[in-house]
C-alpha cells in the first residue's frame, strides 16, 4: 500500500444505449461504482477521462456518484497516459468490463495495469480488503466462482452480474458536482498514443461469416441442396431398460459429461 489511508477509485465511461445511442451511465461502470462505494463509502473517487460536458455523467450523479472528477482526454488514445498520472497513489482501481461507446474493447484495465506495473483481475463479483491484498471473487461460467488474492495496489475489472443496488435519484443528479482536474503531466504524454486503425462504417449491416472456400463439383453442390442430410443420432430400441441405461451411461462417460 502507498501508506496512509486506503484509497480507491473507479473509472466511469460515457455510456451509450446500444440501439438508440442515447447517452446514459454505462451499466458495467455503474456496477463497479456501486461495488466501490460498498467497499469504501464516500471516499471512493470517481474519475472520467474525456470531455467535461459529457451528458452521460449526470446519470452517474443520479446513481450516487456525489463528485465526478473529469480529466481531459481529447481522444480516447490519450486516456491511458492521462489516467496513469492520476492514479499513481491509488491503491485500488475499479472499472467496468467494457465501455459502451467506441470500440469497447475492454483493454483499458489491462493497459492501465501495464502502465502502472500492477496486477489486474477481471470478472470481479466481490472484493474484500485484507491487509496488503484484495480477496476477489471471480465469475466463471457454469455456476462456478473462483477466489483470487491479489496484492495491492491492483486494478479490478468488475463483472456486470455483480450483485449491487443501483438507485436512481433525481435529487442526487441535481446536487452532485462534476469538476475538472488538470492532467498530471507526464513527460511522454501523447507519445504512446497511436493512430486509431479503426474506421467506422456509415451504415449498419450484418457481419459476414468467414467460411472456407470449398471447390466442389456442381453435381455435388446440387445434390447437397436437394437431398437433406439424415438428421438424428443413434437410436436404441432393443434390450431391457438396464441395457438402455448402460447405453446412456456410456454416452455420458464417452463425452465426459459426468466425471465418474
Amino acid at each position: 500500500m502507498t501508506g496512509g489511508k486506503f484509497k480507491a477509485a473507479v473509472l466511469v465511461s460515457a455510456g451509450r444505449h446500444p440501439f438508440t445511442g442515447a447517452p446514459r451511465a454505462c451499466h458495467g461502470d455503474a456496477v463497479a461504482m456501486a461495488l466501490g462505494q460498498r467497499l469504501v463509502g464516500n471516499a471512493l473517487r470517481i474519475i472520467h477521462a474525456g470531455m467535461i460536458d459529457e451528458p452521460a455523467l449526470e446519470d452517474y450523479l443520479a446513481l450516487g456518484a456525489g463528485t465526478i472528477e473529469v480529466v481531459p482526454a481529447p481522444n480516447g488514445d490519450d486516456a491511458i497516459g492521462v489516467l496513469t498520472g492520476l492514479l499513481k497513489d491509488v491503491d485500488l482501481v475499479l472499472s467496468g468490463s467494457r465501455a459502451e461507446s467506441g470500440a469497447g474493447s475492454g483493454l483499458v484495465p489491462y493497459a492501465l495495469a501495464k502502465a502502472l506495473g500492477r496486477p489486474v483481475v477481471a470478472n470481479v463479483l466481490d472484493v474484500e480488503i485484507e491487509g496488503a491484498e484484495a480477496r476477489v471473487r471471480q465469475f466463471l461460467p457454469k455456476g462456478r466462482r473462483r477466489g483470487v488474492a491479489v496484492s495491492l495496489p491492483a486494478i479490478l475489472a468488475v463483472h456486470p452480474l455483480t450483485q449491487v443496488r443501483l438507485g436512481y435519484a433525481y435529487a442526487r443528479r441535481l446536487s452532485g458536482r462534476i469538476i475538472a482536474v488538470p492532467p498530471a503531466i507526464d513527460g511522454q504524454l501523447g507519445a504512446g498514443a497511436r493512430q486509431s486503425p479503426w474506421t467506422v462504417e456509415p451504415t449498419s449491416r450484418r457481419p459476414v461469416r468467414l467460411k472456407a472456400e470449398e471447390k466442389r463439383p456442381a453435381h455435388e453442390r446440387m445434390r447437397a441442396a436437394v437431398v437433406s442430410e439424415a438428421k438424428g443420432g443413434v437410436v436404441a430400441f432393443e434390450g431391457t431398460s438396464v441395457d438402455k441405461a448402460q447405453v446412456v451411461l456410456n454416452y455420458l462417460r464417452n463425452h465426459r459429461l459426468i466425471d465418474f
Partner: protein, 376 residues
Amino acid sequence: MSEVRRVDPRRPIVITPQGLRRIVLGQVGAGDLSAPDPHSAPASKAKPRRLREKAKSWVMAVAHSDRGRLDAHARQTVAAAAILAQGSTGVVAVILGEFEEDAAALGADAVVILPDLDAARFEPEREVAAISSLIEVYDARHVFLPDKPESDGDLGRRLIVEHDESAATHVVEIDAAHVCSPWSGAMLLARAPLPRFILLEPGAVDAGLPFAGLGERAETVEGPKMTAESDAYRDLGLEESDPAQIPLEEADLVVAGGNGVHNVPTLEALARTLGAAVGASRVAVDDGRFARDKQIGATGKTVSARGYIAVGISGAVQHLQGIKDCQHVIALNRDAGAPIVGRADLSVIGDAEEVMQALLTRIAQAREQSELPEAP
C-alpha cells in the same frame, strides 16, 4: 426415331428420412433401394491436407481446453487461423489444458499442449510467459484467441498489452485483409486492417473445413516456473455451487422432464445423482409438475448446457428452440417418431420411468465399483 432424351423412370433414387423419394442426379442405370446411400460415401473419405510440405511461417491459435476437448468457439478460432493461413503458412494450435482430440481435423498443422496451465487455475503470469515464448519460437504473424471473457479473452488482453501491438477484440467479421468489430453497441461496425492479435467473437467463423491440417503433435510443454515472490496473484480455489441452485442458463448438464414423466421425484433424484439442473417442457410446467422458472423453450429459458437429457419430451419446435445451443442431447422417450429423436444425438426408446430407475441403479453401482468418494 426422335432425339428427345427420355427420363428413365427407374433411375437411382434414395428415400430421405422424411420418406420422400429423391432422384440421384448424375447417375444412370436402374434404381435399387438396397444400394448403399451415395451420401454416406463422401463423409468417410479423408479430407485432403492443406499443406503439402513443411510450414515456412506460422500463425497461432490459442485456446483453453475443456476436459480434453475444444468447445465450438475455440474450434472456430483454430478454423479461422487455418482458413486465413495462405500458401506454406502453418497453423500452430496452442492448447492450455489436457487435449485428446484429433488436431488435424480442426485444421491445425502443429499442436502444442500445455497441460499444467488449464482453465481451472488462475495463473495469468505463467500463461502470458508461456504463450509469449511460443509466439517468439514460432514467430507467429497472427495470434487468434476466442474472446471468452472468463478465460481466453482475459489471456488475450494480457498478451495484447504485453506485446503492445496491433490488436482487435470482439471481432465479428474477418477475412484475409481486415477485421470488423462492433462500434458503440451492436449497430455499427468498425473496420481495421488485419492486426497481429485477434480476439474472435463466437459465430464469426464457420468451423467446417474442406481440408485437414497436418496435426503434428509437438512435445508436451510445461509452463514456465514462477517464483512465489514474483506472483502477484494467489488462487484461492474454485467454489462449485449446487447445480440445483444455479440458473438454468448457466447449467452444464440439464435433466428435463416433459409430459411423459409421471414420477417427478425420480427425475429429481436422477438430476441430483448426475449433478445436473432440472428443467421442464411447457406441458409439464402448465400441468403444475414443475415450477415456472424451470421451463425451457420459446416461452421459457434458453439453455446452453453441454449435456441435455430430455425425459418424456416429444420435442415441439418451441422446445427445440430453447435447446438449440446444447451440444449433446439425449432423449428418453416412448415414441420413436417424436421430433426430439431427430434432434437427439442418442435416443433411447422405452418407458422413461423404467430407464430412469435402471440408470439410477447403474450409476450407484458404477460409483461403488470405482470407489470414487466425490458423490455430491
